[in-house]
Symmetry: D2
Subunit: 117 residues, 4 copies
């Protein structure tokens, strides 16, 4: 498949919803809750494993991780759509802001939060 | 700006990380935890508000919502990258699977979980 | 059964763990992650339901809700134990602090966050 | 202070709420969401730290950890109260169930999930 734009993936997600007439259920709180449940499913794959064991487990379960990440992405795209947020644009702006918060010379190789830099 | 592909946004995210030499901190558990913290920030915008009041509040705070969604998206892209998951492809496959789990004729206008359809 | 103290419930939780020799797995990050997964299971019971329908659903599933709340409580008690936190004492202190943050005359009948009071 | 029972801590929590006339805001979804936000605050204390560094950080911030755990506990008690769940009893029953799911001889020293034992 050709690489998709965010816009195209959003259209797929919205078409999926509209075909099922599900927008009526998609209030923002339940959508955000659903996103958090998908993140929990991702985290569950990591429970009680760490270091090399964790990495190996995730590599072995890449298919499953990809599904959970896709489910999270679904809600990112749908919530953005419903609020008329251009997530493509928002993402690039946010990275630029983060670049200001974390100037390379101050943050290189350090995990310190920007408020403590 | 032109519409970006998922691949291009991923490249921006990885470049941001590499410029700061942060890959060393990015074990999967902390990345998933970070994703869940960003979802929490999104949810915090919705706390104690519902219905019309919630929608109006989010519309009024679209900029902020877009930032939180972007932060979630950042971790989706970076985790996928680090596991060599083609998230673009994974997303389309997952939608197809969901389409099978939720056939239009059975699920139209119903919020029932597929296991109960 | 007689009403238990927090201390007694903590002892039950720790005995359960020690009998299985599980302390070795209980690093703080995985315990906090586990707590968040239990909260997710609680939230899952609430997905796509609201208002009267939600309340009725939870009443009908009180047993299940009680189990999820117990799982969350388990981690509260075990994390507190492992950090030598007197959660009983901490809880009462926190309520007193919250009482200062939210003076009755300013916060009565209002859901406003203390920073905006 | 004398060791408190779960019942006494619940009474303190409910009195705190009633004095502020806040029950009107306490629908179950927002309470569960609030619980998840408190867990996120706990997790935030653990972000990007692991092993000895994490433990030392939490010991140094025991006061803060105790506050977050207390906030989680608050919602456990209030949700249980509002559903007439005897959390004290539920907790002991859940431990007994877990003891059956994880028999000592099969689970000792193993982090395997009960479904895989």
């Amino acid at each position: 498949m050709n690489p998709a734009t965010i816009k195209q993936l959003t259209e797929l997600a919205i078409r999926f919803r509209d075909e099922r007439d599900w927008r009526q259920f998609h209030n923002f709180k339940d959508m955000a809750l659903s996103m958090s449940l998908e993140v929990a499913e991702l985290c569950e794959l990591m429970q009680w494993k760490n270091g090399e064991e964790l990495s190996a487990h995730l590599v072995a379960n890449r298919q499953r991780v990809g599904e959970e990440l896709s489910d999270v992405l679904f809600w990112v795209l749908v919530i953005a759509n419903d609020l008329n947020i251009d997530i493509d644009d928002a993402f690039r702006q946010k990275l630029e802001e983060n670049a200001k918060k974390y100037p390379i010379d101050k943050s290189k190789g350090r995990s310190t939060k920007y408020t403590d830099l």
